[in-house]
Symmetry: C2
Subunit: 474 residues, 2 copies
């Protein structure tokens, strides 16, 4: 038996036990995991800093985020609305006598989660996919990202400690590593869904493997995103400096290695726009070079950056302080020279500013862009936003106004997911509703009370339920 088979067999063996823990038991598991992550804060930061070159402040925040996210899903279990508990009592309907029907969402089964390179914790071994799948009641088999194996092992140790503390079944979490094992994992017959955050090419390779399975399973991929950001002429004039500084911060924070980095900014080709770009150039020139996450990211940044620089009409407006690693860069191009070839994500501290001379020109270019996780507009109250939103809304999962897309709060109203190629799903991967990815509906018809989950019994209280068509809170 291969390692992968042993791990997925253990995961399959944990399905019933994890369900039997109920919502309260799984909430305890998630809170224990948060505690165990925090108990290893120093070691996690130190290990991840060494493996990812991300700074300590950023990694400290990521530990906090990871623990917070686990606790949010514990709260989601307590609240219980994610079950979509629904009762239709037997009775007359316009279609004749109707049976007693009761519906709930149940876990799919073992889930494979691929850790991302750029968030060694929050989108990795103990990250959002893991938290939402465990909350749903799905055992999780983790594929550690090859660029932070020690961080993955340490975080996995924290999850295992939580499994023991909470009395969860042994196979609740499993860890594998290596590309070949990852490929075996997504084709394993026991795996019922896959969560992946990474490159478009990596995601496409996994998708092809998954589509070749005899039994199709959902693949939730979060892939490439340009995150266009538009500055209207009025905003460029009114907030020249703050937008320039905010944008450079968003482009170069975490060395631009965020899936929500605004890689493409649209700035008017007027005097205010000139001043805004000049200020961006000055700000960016002060940003030091730095080591990217791994060699593959560094090679991609160099190759795509060089390709963008070589395109007709593209100029280098500024570069950061040179040094070891990747040097930040600010490129510009006129909207008339914008081609589909320029709409490629360059993962790292680089942005392309597109200068436009009219709203029509701006809208024409925006209409050629692929889907993104986010779309941002910096505007003034005098601007008519309708034409811009009409073209941005179909291309983004989150629309921002006078803000920067890099922060992704874990909250009920969050959406982290957008049209292809940013993701391939109709669900978010961040926030409570991410749990829906790992659930399927089941209906009990005419069931005796003893055969029903407790949340579907008539006298159960404490979670939102829809009874005979009417939604009741708690």
């Amino acid at each position: 038996m291969s390692t992968v088979e042993a791990v997925t067999r253990a995961a399959a063996g944990a399905v019933e036990g994890l369900a039997a823990m109920g919502r309260a038991g799984r909430a305890r598991l998630l809170r224990a995991a948060a505690d165990e992550i925090e108990a290893r804060r120093e070691a996690l930061i130190e290990t991840a800093a060494r493996e990812t070159h991300l700074g300590e402040t950023r990694l400290n925040g990521e530990v906090t985020r990871t623990a917070y996210q686990l606790r949010v899903f514990a709260d989601v279990l307590d609240e219980g609305s994610y079950l979509e508990a629904t009762i239709d009592h037997a009775g007359n309907t316009p279609m004749g006598p109707g049976p007693d029907l009761r519906r709930l969402l149940l876990p799919l089964g073992p889930v494979a989660v691929f850790g991302a390179s750029n968030f060694p914790l929050a989108f990795s071994v103990p990250g959002g996919d893991t938290a939402s799948a465990l909350a749903a009641g799905c055992p999780v088999v983790l594929k550690a990202h090859e660029s932070h194996p020690d961080t993955s092992a340490l975080a996995f140790e924290a999850l295992q400690a939580a499994v023991a503390t909470a009395g969860a079944p042994e196979g609740t979490v499993g860890l594998i590593s290596g590309r070949e094992a990852g490929a075996e994992l997504v084709t394993d017959p026991r795996i019922t869904a896959v969560g992946f955050t990474g490159s478009l090419s990596g995601g496409q390779a996994l998708r092809a493997l998954i589509e070749a399975r005899p039994e199709p399973i959902p693949f939730y991929g979060e892939l490439a995103s340009l995150n266009p950001l538009v500055v209207t002429p009025a905003a460029a004039a009114a907030r020249t400096e703050s937008i320039a500084d905010g944008l450079v911060g968003a482009v170069t924070g975490s060395l631009g290695q965020l899936c929500t980095k605004p890689g493409l900014a649209f700035v008017p080709a007027d005097a205010a726009g000139d001043a805004l770009v000049a200020r961006m150039a000055t700000a960016l020139a002060d940003v030091p070079a730095g080591l990217l996450l791994n060699d593959r990211v560094a090679e991609g940044f160099d190759a795509i950056g060089a390709d963008l620089r070589s395109q007709p009409g593209v100029s280098v407006k500024a570069t950061g302080t040179t040094g070891e690693g990747a040097t930040p860069a600010l490129l510009t191009v006129d909207a008339t020279n914008f081609t589909a070839h320029l709409a490629e994500e360059c993962f790292g501290p680089l942005a392309l500013v597109v200068r436009y001379t009219s709203e029509a020109e701006l809208l024409d270019v925006l209409a050629t862009l692929p889907g993104s996780l986010t779309g941002t507009v910096h505007s003034e109250s005098t601007d008519d936003l309708a034409p811009l939103l009409a073209v941005l809304q179909p291309r983004a999962g989150r629309l921002l106004f006078d803000a920067y897309p890099t922060g992704v709060l874990v909250s009920w109203a969050q959406t982290h997911g957008g049209p292809w190629p940013s993701t391939n799903t109709v669900h978010t991967s961040v926030g409570p509703t991410a749990i829906r990815r790992f659930l399927r509906p089941v209906t009990w018809q005419n069931a005796p009370e003893r055969a029903l989950p407790e949340e579907l019994r008539d006298d159960f209280k404490g979670i939102p339920r829809r009874v005979d068509g009417v939604l009741h809170v708690g």
Copy 2:
């Protein structure tokens, strides 16, 4: 420009207008469609009876169901909870200051719907996929099933009349026909999701085409289902005749051409079980032969029926009255002779009864079955249901108790969808929650009120919303 391209272009052109109608406008559209269907009741029944050989009573019920279903989705729009409207006001969070985030589900875009042969209305041109997609705000391009073109044209005329009455955009509904056009439809870049009810092979062919698209889109297929039904020894003894009669009714109703027909029944190999099977044989012998939906269905019924009869240990226990068309058949096999080869859906009036000598033997066979839309248990209050449910629940989308799975009420608690190969989705295709298939979440961050959909404005009332984490009703 091909016909398909013209139709999908018109559909893409209707996206904005359909959204602009709002929930109230689309509810009017759906109610108008229900009225127009009912206004054509006689003609629809007459045409469908000629094209499908289904009886007038059944088709009359289907007209009623189709109109009812359209009105249910109008009510879903009025109620508004399907939007999952969520507001997180700006404020302090454990992660620091949080932005104002507001989330809503938005329509995907034009949807392709493939009509089914066995429900010429309720799962066809004006059926559940169409009703839920239009409710979501997605224009629908319908692929008429080749075995009922006139019914499809007449039903489409009703939808077009409703589009005109409600003032919906012209491209709101479109109709194409032919296999080649269907293949072109699912690969058209403007199509954003596909709904399909039909054979496993047809679904697999469409899935392969969809997976070859450069931009992946969701494919919601409802395919093959065995619908196992278990009779416990206690139930066989207590309700011998009623179960036998109910089962034969479910197997032969609509000549067995229902995706929820119980094709596989498990009956104890004891005296009560013998009596139950004998009663089934007597009842089935009285059921007349009849014409199936079309030649392809008839050929499949003959071929799979012959294959099942030829398997080791399978006996023909009874056949119906011979005549023109397909003759109903009741086959039996001992559980010890059950193989995976027998777990194939035979669409039409045929059931295979598996005789088991112990619960262990029963559970062993059940554990080998593929996923189904439904799983049914006939039991008595003295039975321990836990072992049976442990094996049936992972294999079904709806669990029935002392009932028959063929009726599928359109109601909030309904699930019509199960594990592969019965479907390939984590959503139901019948009932209000089917709308979720055609929606994606979008979040507005820090948006000025004028940029928000009205349902996300602070002072909006009348639909359930989650505000700062707390669900409020209306």
